[in-house]
């Protein structure tokens, strides 16, 4: 299998799904820029794709506010598919000949599976982090 987990995407989705979080867009911009600078793909590629995925996560947050795990699962699956398909299109446009069936079986599906597996612990970690950040922020405001 040639897939890879996208930790940045998972962190951004999990963060965007937190109820208290209002700055998900800023973090998406920063995360997309960081990944874009490392990758061979154009540095501006990740930012719009991440924005679309995070927008979807924010939309789902209002629908599944009592069950963030469901929102995490749906966004992870669809988000990974969108990201990998967008990558495929960009690479095809840049002249790289990639077989769709091969890339789907070898890259896209394993990546979806890996991201799905990691989404459970990531959601828990980011949820704890959000609670920690916003609880301490609340205390500071009260003081």
């Amino acid at each position: 299998m040639g897939g890879a987990a996208d930790i940045m995407l998972l962190v951004l989705i999990a963060w965007a799904l937190q109820e208290e979080v209002d700055d998900a867009w800023q973090w998406t911009l920063l995360g997309g820029l960081l990944i874009g600078l490392i990758s061979k793909l154009p540095f501006y590629f990740y930012i719009p794709v991440y924005f679309v995925i995070i927008g979807f996560a924010r939309f789902l947050r209002s629908r599944f506010w009592q069950a963030p795990a469901i929102g995490m699962f749906i966004t992870t699956v669809l988000g990974t598919l969108v990201l990998q398909m967008a990558t495929l299109v960009v690479l095809q446009l840049s002249g790289m000949s990639i077989k769709l069936s091969e890339s789907f079986g070898y890259i896209v599906l394993p990546s979806v599976l890996l991201n799905l597996l990691l989404s459970i612990p990531m959601q828990a970690i980011v949820s704890d982090l959000a609670q920690f950040v916003y609880r301490s922020q609340g205390k500071n405001e009260r003081i």
Partner: protein, 281 residues
Amino acid sequence: MNQQINRNWQLIVFFLVVVGIMAMALSGYLNPLVKAATSPFIGIQRWISTRYTAIVEFITVPKDAASLRQENENLKAEVSQLQTQVIELQQQVNEAQIIYSLLDFAQNRPENTYVAASVIGRDPSPFLQYVIIDHGSDSGIKHGMPVVNQDGLVGRIDAVTANAARIQLITDAGSSVNIHLRNAGVDAVMSGSLTGDINLDMVSTDITLEAGDLVITSGLGGNYPPDVVIGQVVSVRKTETDLFQTASVQPSVDFANLQAVLIITNFKPVDTSPLIPTTTP
């Protein structure tokens, strides 16, 4: 007078008895007797000793337990510290082994100048086979320079910043290398793929390709220096109806565990793009 004689006789007899007993004792005849005589005393001594030891332990154990516990904690801390040291030393040994093998490779090819670099990252996209290294233009690295390690060809520099560079591996789907098959004695083009395998394409069916044939760079095209080992042919796919045959190549470099590389800095890649004819409308 008689009394004096009797006393002398008594002394002689007493002396003889004592000497006899000593002789018997020394020769071991009295051992069973001595054992029988002393065993009750030994038993008593043992009984007293065990009770005494038990009483002493009962009084002093709480103090000993505390000190033992402290000592145990100290030893545990020392063990964990030593384990950390062992891991660090093992890492250093691994790094030293890699450096030695890179040095060995560089010494065997003195005509080239090298810059050694560590691999610090990989491209986040699973579609792309690129790695990031910790040296850039400040170390004299430029776009297009070939990258090798002790096992063979790794790839070429794709992008450079002041302190880092990105390498396109030969396993990348967009990579193609002009190669030479040593046993078959022919040149061909090798390309990477999505799966990370490398394949030979467009080889004429007239040429006999065999598994185990050594694949080296040909130097044609001016992108890579000649005679750098790439790998071995592992399987050949050829049918009677096909015009060309293809082959899979097992790379000599372990790309999954790539830790350090050498960039050949005195090799100037040739840009052949102006020579490629373009279609004019």
